[in-house]
């Protein structure tokens, strides 16, 4: 489902990623770990096509995204749900509108948008916050809204960059419960975290990055 072969990326002479090869099977929930600056965020940027690799191939759901034409990028991104470390919620829009945006971009009818938004809000236990604005929510709640926004379009792949960073233990558990639930429905999930406790009893595969290089792969 997600496959990287000899992928390298440098920024102004600094190698952010060097010769990375990894594979995540369909329906898996895998983790990428490593200290800050290890290259986790760069790896994710390559996966959701915010950056292009200098070398190597990246295959997501059978498509080599490294060579894709820019006009196809939006269509590929619709197949990838992304949970950002900084949430990237629109603070001038309600929770409903933030989640609905994913579907409006795809041209869904308003009735179906309403059904789907309420369904994902139920999944993340935030139905009662539907009319709230992001800044009135706690960090954990905002992260759950971000997760809801990323899954409302039913992507085949989900990427989560430090989804529990800055959250307390209670919220961490809640978010991991949601990820397991999404994964159980067949969505392939790749989570980047420096928190090893997060995947101790969850992961089937853990990739360890250090200084832009893949140092280990644990099953």
């Amino acid at each position: 489902m997600i496959e990287l072969e000899n992928v390298s990326k440098a920024f102004g002479g600094y190698a952010a990623l060097s010769n990375i090869s990894l594979k995540v099977e369909r329906g898996d929930m895998a983790f990428v770990t490593g200290p800050s600056g290890a290259g986790k965020t760069t790896l994710f940027k390559l996966l959701y096509l915010a950056e292009k690799p200098d070398e190597g191939t990246i295959t997501i759901a059978g498509c080599n995204v490294a060579d894709v034409k820019s006009s196809y990028i939006p269509l590929l991104r619709r197949n990838i749900g992304v949970v950002f470390q900084d949430f990237k919620l629109l603070n001038n829009k309600t929770v409903y509108d933030n989640i609905a945006l994913t579907l409006r971009i795809r041209g869904f009818m308003e009735r179906e948008i309403k059904e789907r938004v309420h369904s994902v809000l139920k999944m993340v236990n935030l139905r009662h916050k539907v009319d709230n604005y992001p800044l009135t929510l706690s960090g954990g709640e905002q992260q759950r809204i971000t997760i809801a926004r990323s899954i409302v379009g039913e992507p085949t792949v989900m990427l989560a960059d430090e989804p529990t960073g800055n959250l307390d233990e209670e919220n961490e558990k809640e978010i991991m419960r949601i990820f397991k639930q999404i994964n159980a429905k067949g969505t392939t999930i790749l989570i980047a975290t420096h928190n090893r406790a997060l995947f101790r009893n969850t992961a089937r595969k853990v990739f360890t990055l250090e200084g832009g290089m893949l140092r280990g792969e644990e099953e």
Partner: protein, 288 residues
Amino acid sequence: MFSLRLALQSIFKDKWMNFLSMLSIGVMLFILVSVAIIVYNVERLTARLPERLTVMVMLKEGVAGEEIKAAQAVIKAEPAVKAVTFVSKERAMEDLKRSFKKDDFILKGFGENPLFDSFDVKIKSEGVHIDEVKRLIQKIKSMKGVDDVEYGEALMDSLYALKSGMRALGLSIGIVFVCSVTFICYTTVKILFYRHKDEIEVYKLLGATRWFVRAPFFIEGSIIGILGGMIGSGMLMGLYQYFIRRLIADIPMFAFMSIPLQFMYMLPVAGMLLGLGGSVLALGRLKY
């Protein structure tokens, strides 16, 4: 619909900035259309000028009747000529006496009729260019038996110089103001685009196409242009109601002036097109 909603939200959110842009566009379009109206009226004034021209062809003394008929036929055959009337010197004297009415004793001092035979040449009302009239006059002047040709040369030349001057001025002002309106829309949309940059980034990450991202800005630019055009139309309406109508009523010299109503409908359309053009230029190529 979603794009329209976003565009309207954005217009209301930055209402003062957008209002100032609309006002600037309105004033510029108003000035532009005012110049167009002046050019239009000068064109109208000069278009029927050849028709109003009376060309008087004075014949030499002692030209025979056959020669006069031949000359009349030649002039009549010219495409620019509507009618040619022969006026004998006796008839000319009678007309002159009639015009003096009771004061015709002035003419009794002349022993012999000092006037001459002539042709009154009427020029066609439409499709005759001034150069064609000038060519015709030169041709008549060179004809055998013709002494001189008189027409309102100085007035005609001044009016035509004014006409071509106004055209050039209108075109220059038109180009400058069209560019200015486009630039205002360009900067307005560019500012709005930078203001929404983070939001646009999220749209792109969620899979929005270029069209989806751009459409609200195109709509916004067009709406600003339309509303600017409507402000311009309102100003034009005010100019007509409170100035030109009174001017026409009070000073008969300006009775020829008119404002085509199409200009009022055209301004919002022109504003929309310029607004859209400015938005297209402002957004350029959207990168992913």
